[in-house]
Each structure stands twice: as C-alpha cells, then as structure tokens.
Symmetry: none
Subunit: 201 residues, 4 copies
C-alpha cells in the first residue's frame, strides 16, 4: 500500500517545470508543444497532465515560484543593514540572473504570455506589486537614514526602478550587444543618481 508522497509529487512537478522552462526559453511558449515538454521531461502526456491541469498551469507554477523566490529574497534582508546598499545588491542579483541566457529568455516569454493570458497576467501583476512594495519599503528606510532623496515618493520611485529592470530584459531581446556583466554597474549608477539625496530637480 503506497500513500501519496507529497515530496515525490513536488519533485515531479519541479521536473516538469524545468523541462517546460527549457522548452519555453528555446522555442517560445506558444511554439512549444506539450509533446515536446513530455519528451524533455521523459514522460508521457497522460502523466504530465496528471501533475498539471494544462500547459498554462505549468507557466503559472513557474511564475509562482519566481514570485515566492523574490519575496523570500526581500524577507531575508537584514532591516538594520545599509538599505540603499541592499537595494543596489538586489539590482546586481537581477543582473546576474539576466546573464543566464535561458533565464532571460524564459522571463521574456512569460512576460509576453502574460500579455494575453489573463490568469498569468493577474499573477504576475500580483508579484510585481509585491516587489514594488518591497522596494518602496527599502526606500522609505533609506530616506529615513538620509540616504535617499526624501522628495521622492517611495512607491513611484519603486515603479521606475522596476521599469528599469524590465527594460534590462527588453534590451537582452533587442540588442545583441547588451552584456549584463558589463552593464550591471550602470544599473547601479542609473538608480543611484536617480535616488541620490541632495539632488536638485
């Protein structure tokens, strides 16, 4: 008699998510067939649909994982440390992810899919809002410490920081010469100057 093993279940789901992620990054979400995902995951279609209700559900799981990871990143921050530095470190971390071709392409694919899949859009919008809130929190702290221009609205400033991050992934798609490794310091620079306390408008 075998009981349902949630760990095994989760492992299978992970396996599928990874296989799907590779396929999506390689060929795009729409161009990827479930058959391809099955092949990549070494699994029959019947079995794949045992773990996910639909192709879309796989993306949703990927998005959710990403959201959770980002949330965990911010939750782990030491609130007593240098908050501006913490924000800039986050940007470095983003650039490190962006340097991974597969990750970058997958991020783009998912964003594109969110354009037309309302479920994914809603989910991504939620994660996005959460990230903006986390950044705004850092900004508020940094303002209190005098590290950041107190004349800025934290939420609005966070929006523009996230816009820059989105822009990075767009650059990766449009400009073959855009090298994340080389550009990481520039992202710090752009954000630093934007936030700098004592700036005159």
């Amino acid at each position: 008699m075998r009981k349902i093993d949630p760990e095994r279940q989760q492992a299978k789901r992970r396996q599928i998510m990874e296989a799907a992620g590779n396929c999506f990054a390689r060929r795009g979400f729409h161009a990827t067939t479930t058959a391809e995902i099955c092949a990549e995951a070494g699994m029959s279609p019947g079995n794949l649909f045992h773990y996910f209700d639909s192709k879309s559900a796989i993306v949703e799981a990927i998005v959710e994982e990403e959201r959770a990871d980002t949330a965990a990143y911010f939750a782990a921050l030491d609130e007593s440390s240098d908050l501006l530095e913490a924000l800039l470190d986050f940007l470095d971390a983003v650039m490190a992810f962006a340097a991974d071709k597969t990750y970058a392409r997958l991020a783009l694919e998912i964003a594109a899919e969110a354009t037309r899949n309302p479920a994914i859009n809603t989910q991504m919008a939620a994660g996005d809002a959460q990230t903006r809130a986390d950044i705004a929190r850092l900004l508020r702290g940094a303002m209190a410490n005098g590290q950041v221009d107190a004349g800025l609205e934290p939420e609005q400033a966070a929006s523009w920081i996230v816009a820059l991050i989105d822009g990075v992934f767009s650059r990766l798609a449009m400009d073959p010469g855009f090298d994340p490794q080389r550009e990481a310091p520039m992202l710090r620079l752009v954000v630093s100057r934007f936030l700098k306390a004592g700036s005159a408008r």
Copy 2:
C-alpha cells in the same frame, strides 16, 4: 485598361495595417485570426493576402512604419537647438504615445511577437539600433555643450535610456496604477539625474 495604381495600393495596405493594429491591440497578435482582420478591414481573405504575403508581413509593415516615424522625428530635429532639451522632449513624446491605450497595447504585442518571430526581431532590432544611435548623437552633442556628464559612454547611456522607455510599456502591462500622464515628468527626472553633468559617481 487600368494601370496599377501605387497610391491606391498603398491606401489599401494602410487600411489593412490599421485594422490589424486594432485587432492586435484588442486581442493580441496570436489570438487575432486573419479572418478577424478581414472583418475589421471589410475585406475577403483572398484580397487581404493579395496585399500582404502573410500575417507576419502585416506586423512587419507596422514595425517598419514605426521605425520610419521615429527616424523622421530625429531627422527633423534642429541640430543647433538645446540638445538635452530635445532628448527630454522626445521622452515626453514617447509618454504621450504611451498614454494611448491602443498604441501601448500594440507596442507590447509587437514586442512580444518579436520574441519568437525572427524576421520581426531582426527588423525591430534594426529600428532599435537606429534609435539608440540617434539618442547617442544627441548625447554626444549635449556632452560637447557641457549639458551631459562627459564621463558617460554615449552609446551605453543611450541603451539605458531606451531601456527605461521599454520599461514604461512594461509598467503599463503590469501595473494598472501606472498613469503615463502623471509619470511623464518622472521619466524626465530619472534621465536628467542620470545624465546630469558634474555628477559624482
């Protein structure tokens, strides 16, 4: 005997491009069927394919038009005027377009499509490179005039300005609270601070 009338031809193509643009903005590129475009354009499929070889060719024409418009915008600039101001005005113009829901959604759809359609990607990359070159030219002039931090690399700085623009459209998709009207001054601010001469790193 009637000769081929290139103007009439061009008018029909425009009619199709507009119909397709509306459909793409409304339902997305992939979800839009050629039948829908035909209906919106008041035209039979046989006829539509008389003017465009493929659905993709319609997008390519739209992208090309956009590219030409942007190129014309920069070509029309008075080189002897305030170049930094010219750049910031360009950003305002972008935000004005972004305020148009249909335009914004269409831009997003096309960017998403470029993700997987190599022809469109190549074409957009070319337009993108051109825009960066135009911005870099402005920056170089503004640097010569001492308006912009001469320590920046013009091409690299242009990249980040374009990244911000891309980010704006991403914001429109992800954040329902992002209001182009209200955010236009912020875009000026972010770019101004980034470029400001005399900034210390």
Copy 3:
C-alpha cells in the same frame, strides 16, 4: 466576383448531413470521427467546419430537418378528411421509415445522443411536443366525429401513441426478429383498439 450562393451553401450542408447520417448509422455518433465524416463527404476538415461549427451542430441540423419534415407532414393533412384514418396513415408512414435500416439506426443514435447532449435534447423535446400536439389535434377532431373514445384526454392519448412509436425503434434495436413490414398492421391495431369509440374501460 462571386456572391454567397445560399443554395450552394445549403446543398453542401445537405451533403455533409447525409454523409454524417450514414456514418452515425454505421458506427454510432460517438464512434464516428469528424475525419470519417470528411472522408464520406469528400471534404477536408477545415471545409467541413466552414459549414458546421461542431460535430454536434451536424446532428442538430439533422434533428431540425426531421422536425420540419414531420411538421410539414401534419400541415399538409386535409382537415376535412377522415382524421382517424389520417392518424393511422401516419403510423404506416412511420413504419415505412422504420423499415429503412439506416434511418432506424440513425433515429436510435440520435435519441441516444439526446440523452447526454442538452442542446439536442431540448431540440428533440420541442419536435416531440409538436408532434404530440399535432396528433392531439387529429384526435380531438376524430372525437368530435365520434371516431375516437371521447373519454380519452387527447394530449395524454397522443403521448401513448408516441410512446408506441418510440417503442418501435427500440424493438428494432433489441429484437432482430421484429420486422417493420410485418408489424405495421399491428401498430394500427394497437392504436385502433386503444382509441376505439364505445370502448368500456
């Protein structure tokens, strides 16, 4: 320039309905694939779905045609003739149809399908109600003429006559020895005795 030709359209639909009817009678509704219908109709799937939105829509069209035919049959009756005889003639007509193997099997298939397809069920129920109403009308006339037991409720009596008709098709499915040709007079007899004026309960 070709205009939509409604006759040609209707002819195609008929062609498909006949092909589908043959397939359904031969293999059953569920076992029949759209590919089989296409093959039987000499047509590509794309084209078939140009004329019918779904496999189910084909059955609906068949049912509708049947309903219209039956309605036309009753509408064409001479109201001044012998109404009881008209009813019994109708029963003979039904038995003549039942003698056609393909028709009989198709009728059964459709009835079975109505069991689980609500759209078809509704439609068949409507046709059924109409037929019962038509029969009840005949009965009322025949009662006025003293040909039919006036103690019967016309609608209720009509129900039982229709039940017998349904029962005939059931017999054809269950009893290989049930020969419509031979049984036609029996149907007249059962109904005649049931309706006979002057019967004592």
Copy 4:
C-alpha cells in the same frame, strides 16, 4: 493465510455497480470516467480494475442483474392465479420503477449504450427475449382462460407490450410532463384494450 472470500468479492462488485449506476444516471455512460466511479466507490482505479475487467464489464453486470431480477419476478408468479391481472401488475411494477428518476435515467443510458456496444446489445437482447417469452407465456395462459383475444399471436403481442414499456422510458427522456404515477393506469388501459377478448379488428 486468507482464502478468497467470494462473498466479500461479491460485495465489492455490488459496491462498484451501485457507484457506477449512480454516475451513469447522473452524467451518462460515456461522460462518466472510471476515475469518477472510483471516487464514488471510494476506491483506487487499480482496485476497481481488479474487480471488473473493463468499464463495459460493469454495465454488463448491471444488465445481468436486471435480467435476473426480471426473470425472478416472472418465475415467482403463481401460475394458477389470474394471468391477465398478473401481466397488468407487472406493468404497474414497471411504472413504479420508472417513477424512480435514477433508475429511469440509468435504464435509458444503458439502452443507449447497447446501441453501440455489441456485448451489451447481445446481453440486453437476451434479457429482452426472455421477458417477451415470459409475457407470451402469460398471454397464452390468459388466452386459454378466455381473458385475452385468442386471435393475437402471443409472441407478437408480447413484442408490442414490451415496445410500450420501452416507449415509457423514452417518454421520460423527451417529455418533462410525463408523470409515471399518473400514467400507470393508462398503460393498463392501452394494454387491456389491445388484448381484450371479443374485440373486433
């Protein structure tokens, strides 16, 4: 060491048959998945297929049970009693079953399935033939007693009585206003008049 316990085995089969019957009545035979039957029976698919070789085998068992029950009904009749009355009582019993929504829908589902499943068709045809034979036997006895028109062929008359019964279930599917409770006396009436000794054709 545990021996195979046939009673336990039989109980499990019954449990499955009942669960399946409920599902079939609720959603139809084809629409019911084995997974649903498993859920209703509180059982894993592996286990279910341990007791029945196939989904079809479950229906076959249900049909067989029904056949046996009907056979038992006739076997239990007192041959010395009023045979016409016995027949009419049987009809009342049928109507009582028909009044049970679940039973009625299940009967219909199974009849529909018999349309396309040869194994079930054969089996139902056998039960049907048996019932007709039982009714014919009653009729022969009733003829001998002068209760039934001796001019009728017993087998043929039985066929038409069974046709009426089938028709009742058809009515239940097609006519929401058909109330078994109310119609039971009518079935008696139709059959009585049909069989009545001394009838003139």
